[in-house]
């Protein structure tokens, strides 16, 4: 066995058993020192200090990804040179290391990085920072070192201002953004979207942070102010983008990151690792909550790399697997595994293992992360190409869906992923629909992911109504066989999505099928009604309303309104309307309306109208002094109709439990 391999095995054993000394750590640091050309006699003292401290080496290597190790090492050296005593002080050393790492990420020079380091060192020494600062890991300190998106808040002047004027307990920084006023125009009338908003005030105060506090701004300025205030006081924070908005996040206690001024789940952090979404942030911060575990993860990965470098392929495969299975939250383990497996002589089984491990260990809690990894690193290797292999691709992608447990830590762009997957399965629409149907079936019991599955499929159908109705028909048939609360919830979700659409399209079959299924989920209407002669003509038809699915309306209950069961609807748009396409064309004998309890006066002034074709309407009644139950006798009117509606031109709200049309069938 070769010496490097022996060393790697020994290191792996030491790492596995939690023993501190790891020659591979030192070897890795030496490698970076060489890359950074830190080999001159002048740098000897720095090298000696760093290599004498396994703690410091781990801090450098195992505090998050290291995309620019040589640059970071050069910056660390510059900091040490200006303050050699930092090596002996864990807090100063940790902050210096974090500044070097973040400075390399940002492409800052030594002067800029030095400035930030000195700020935190001196503020801590003077007791001005929050006590949380003392216990932060180097990973967490990287957020302090990095600063915020708007560089105006990262200046020393701004930081000192916020240290003095926005010194708060950590849990109050989520509200710090409101120190500044949200105002679109400055007092002179200049818009925030133009170049003159802050221009007059540039010389008025000692810092841009103070200027923003006095002048105000919109979400970008406010969120940057809030995050920068936390950072200036030693609390990790970061700004993040959301659709049309800027928010921020603060770590108010160890491991507890609180989104602030946040309006959406769809967040992109301006400082993050591997990926910017909230899911990535949770993954990364959790991976580094346990510093010892993060170091162990690094040790295992280094040991695996050493085995790979030594040509011990089989052992390296096992070692990389051990690393990612022991520390699945450390995304670097997954990347390292994939990079190694791409080399020759690695058995195909290793890729299957990697695939299975991602499904088992990442997908349930971090589906977005799993999808990103599988799509970029695994599927290109394991999914066969060619139309004849579509079923194999489908099976592999369905395994992803089976591994999911709802949204995981946070919503993500699951619908987009699903559309991509449909395309990966096949270009053929039938095969795509089969895949979507199978996905629906997998998620139907939990219901959470049903709406995005529907949206993705409907988007794929586009304007093809035939394809869409065929899909709905297939999936509702499947649901009809299901029982139990979870299915009822799924049916309710489906009905809420589909009933308004089918009613608007006059698709009575779908409206009836799904509406009747959904009625299992709500109680019948208890208000008895006196019927009119004939049959219930509205039964078997469909109901469409103005603004279905608004905050007061539950479309899954629309079916019951026109049937004996009873249901409800609530419009929210003027003119308000509720239109029944009758189940049978007929000679009308009467209409019974039961309004929802409360605000029954809203029906006053509305008209009852009838139509043969749904286009030309005739007024047959005006509601003057409406009661909860309204019976409109049409027996003497000799009205033949296929449609009946209530139209309220004076307001947006109509809300009924029953809208029953009686008469004699004429079709």
């Amino acid at each position: 066995m070769k010496f490097p391999a022996l060393l790697a095995i020994l290191s792996a054993c030491l790492a596995t058993h939690g023993m501190a000394r790891s020659p591979l750590v030192t070897a890795a640091v030496e490698k970076v020192l060489a890359e950074a050309s830190m080999t001159t006699p002048e740098q000897a003292d720095f090298r000696a200090a760093l290599l004498a401290s396994t703690e410091w080496q781990h801090e450098f290597l195992d505090s998050g990804p290291l995309p620019k190790p040589a640059e970071a090492m050069a910056l660390l050296h510059a900091l040490w040179k200006s303050d050699p005593a930092l090596a002996a002080d864990p807090i100063d050393r940790g902050m210096a290391t974090a500044c070097a790492l973040a400075g390399a990420d940002r492409g800052w020079d030594a002067a800029r990085v030095g400035e930030r380091y000195v700020y935190f060192r001196d503020a801590w020494d003077q007791g001005l920072l929050n006590s949380m600062f003392g216990g932060l890991s180097v990973f967490q300190r990287r957020y302090l070192a990095n600063g915020v998106q708007h560089d105006r808040f990262n200046t020393l002047e701004s930081m000192h201002y916020q240290l003095e004027e926005v010194c708060l307990p950590a849990d109050q920084y989520p509200g710090a953004c409101w120190y500044a006023r949200w105002i679109l125009n400055n007092p002179f009338g200049d818009s925030i979207h133009g170049p003159h908003y802050y221009e007059p005030f540039q010389a008025s105060w000692g810092s841009d942070a103070e200027m923003v506090r006095h002048v105000g701004g919109v979400c970008g300025s406010l969120s940057n102010f809030g995050a920068a205030a936390a950072i200036a006081n030693g609390i990790p924070a970061a700004t993040m983008g959301e659709p049309g908005h800027c928010a921020y996040v603060v770590m108010i206690s160890p491991g507890q990151w609180v989104p602030s001024y946040s309006l959406s789940w769809d967040r992109g952090l301006h400082y993050g690792f591997h990926g910017g979404s909230w899911s990535w942030h949770v993954l990364n911060t959790r991976a580094h909550e346990d510093v010892a575990a993060a170091r162990k993860s690094g040790d295992l990965r280094r040991a695996a790399t050493a085995l790979a470098d030594a040509g011990e392929t089989g052992k390296a495969v096992d070692a990389f697997r051990r690393a990612r299975r022991s520390h699945p939250l450390d995304y670097s383990n997954w990347l390292a595994s994939a990079a190694f497996l791409a080399s020759p002589r690695v058995p195909d089984q290793a890729w299957q293992d990697l695939h299975r491990d991602a499904l088992e260990l990442l997908a349930p809690e971090f589906p977005e992360v799993a999808w990103t990894f599988l799509k970029s690193a695994v599927y290109p290797k394991i999914l066969p190409s060619g139309e004849e292999q579509a079923s194999k691709r489908r099976d592999a992608l369905l395994a992803f869906h089976r591994a999911l447990k709802g949204w995981g830590v946070e919503r993500w762009k699951f619908g987009e992923a699903l559309r991509e997957q449909m395309g990966m399965v096949s270009a053929d629409a039938t095969k795509q629909d089969e895949f979507a149907l199978a996905c629906f079936g997998i998620h139907a019991t939990a219901a959470t992911l049903v709406p995005p599955v529907l949206e993705a499929q409907f988007a794929a159908c586009g304007q093809d109504e035939v394809r869409k109705r065929a899909f709905i028909h297939q999936l509702t048939e499947g649901l009809a066989k299901g029982r139990g609360h979870d299915f009822d919830e799924t049916i309710g979700l489906l009905a809420a999505r589909i009933l308004p659409e089918s009613a608007a399209a006059g698709d009575r079959a779908t409206f009836q099928f799904l509406g009747k299924l959904a009625s299992r989920g709500y109680e019948p209407c208890a208000v008895e009604v006196e019927k009119f002669p004939g049959i219930l003509l509205s039964s078997g038809g469909c109901l469409s309303i103005a603004a279905p699915g608004n905050q007061w309306d539950v479309p899954s209950r629309h079916w019951g309104v026109i049937e004996n069961h009873g249901g409800d609807f609530h419009t929210d748009s003027a003119p308000a309307f509720a239109t029944v396409q009758l189940g049978n064309f007929g000679r009308l004998s009467g209409v019974v309306i039961v309004q929802r309890d409360g605000n029954i006066g809203r029906l006053a002034g509305a008209k009852l109208q009838t139509s043969a074709d749904g286009s030309t309407w005739t007024d047959v009644h005006v509601f003057e002094n409406p009661q909860r139950v309204e019976r409109i006798d049409l027996r003497d009117r000799k009205i033949d109709a296929g449609y009946v509606r209530v139209l309220q031109e004076n307001g947006p709200h109509l809300h009924f439990n029953r809208f029953l049309v009686f008469g004699a069938k004429q079709n």
Binding site: G127, N130, P169, E199
Partner: protein, 307 residues
């Protein structure tokens, strides 16, 4: 000798105020109201902020600081916790019932309340840290506010006597509004009936909106009300009621209105006159920069502002 010592201690105690220490804000407030003494509150975060802890232990509780306070006051402390548990939150809410945290924007802070609960002053941030370089400075600041509180109480007490004598009432209202403490929260409502003609301009000064006046002027220009607004601004400038800082903003508004009418040279003159009232302050600097950009830069010989 012993007689001299007795006299010395008597003199010292005569010169030092009596500080009544009452734990718990709610109880301290009662004590302040009951004794007609101002309430001085230290708001700190010693459990999560070492500087707060040092300030509390080495300054606030220090004998030399307390010895420097000449007036009788009630002292209390509020220790604001970080990430408090539910039971801690409940206890804190009970203990600090009636406390308005609104003016405490940074820790530590000192709030001073009048016996009637009116917040007289709030010291924090860089202002407090600069004062804290010298305990006598903080003590004399507290004394000054306590003295103003006593004067306030006297003036408010006299208002009732002069309900039918607008001239005397107006003098007292004006004096009240000029005290170096936070303004009365509802001065206009309280005093309008006593001095309907605003003899000394206290109501005009009190109602002036500062930079909101500038914002309102922008809005009026946008609505096409420039001429009417200019007439009002000229009337305000003819008044002697306004403080220099307020006149500075009124002149800036005049500059905006003249610029909107295309009278650039007159507008630039108004901006310069505004700047002269506050050449080193944030308002004056902002006004001259805006004025130069919008009108001054197109006037031959006009000098660009510094910075």
């Amino acid at each position: 000798m012993s007689r001299i010592l007795v006299c010395f201690f008597f003199l010292v105690s005569f010169l030092c105020g009596e500080i009544t220490e009452v734990p718990g804000f709610a109880k301290a407030r009662e004590a302040s109201a009951g004794s007609a003494k101002p309430l001085v509150v230290l708001v700190h975060g010693s459990s999560w902020h070492r500087a707060s802890q040092l300030f509390t232990e080495k300054f606030w509780r220090a004998a030399d600081f307390r010895a420097g306070i000449a007036r009788d006051v009630v002292f209390t402390e509020i220790d604001v916790r970080q990430n408090p548990k539910e039971d801690e939150q409940k206890a804190f809410a009970e203990e600090t019932q009636g406390w308005d945290r609104g003016t405490v924007r940074s820790f530590p802070a000192i709030q001073i309340y009048g016996p009637d609960g009116h917040l007289l002053e709030s010291l924090g941030g860089s202002m407090l840290r600069e004062l804290a370089l010298s305990p006598p400075l903080v003590a004399s600041k507290i004394d000054a506010i306590a003295a103003a509180s006593a004067e306030r109480d006297r003036l408010l007490g006299e208002m009732d006597q002069f309900k039918t004598n607008p001239e005397e009432a107006a003098k007292r209202i004006d004096a009240l509004c000029r005290l170096p403490i936070r303004p009365e929260t509802d001065a206009a409502t309280k005093f309008r009936a006593l001095d309907p003609t605003d003899r000394y301009g206290w109501a005009a000064r009190h109602a002036f909106g500062g930079w909101e006046f500038i914002r309102a002027t922008s809005d009026r220009i946008a609505k096409g009300e420039t001429d009417a607004a200019l007439v009002e601004v000229d009337a305000m400038l003819a008044e002697s009621a306004y403080e220099p800082a307020q006149r500075c903003l009124i002149l800036a508004a005049k500059g905006m209105l003249l610029a909107a009418k295309g009278e650039k040279e007159a507008a630039w003159a108004a901006y310069q006159e505004a700047h002269a009232l506050d050449p080193r302050g944030p308002d004056g600097k902002a006004i001259i920069r805006h004025g130069y950009r919008t009108v001054g830069s197109s006037i031959p010989g006009a000098t660009a502002p510094e910075g």
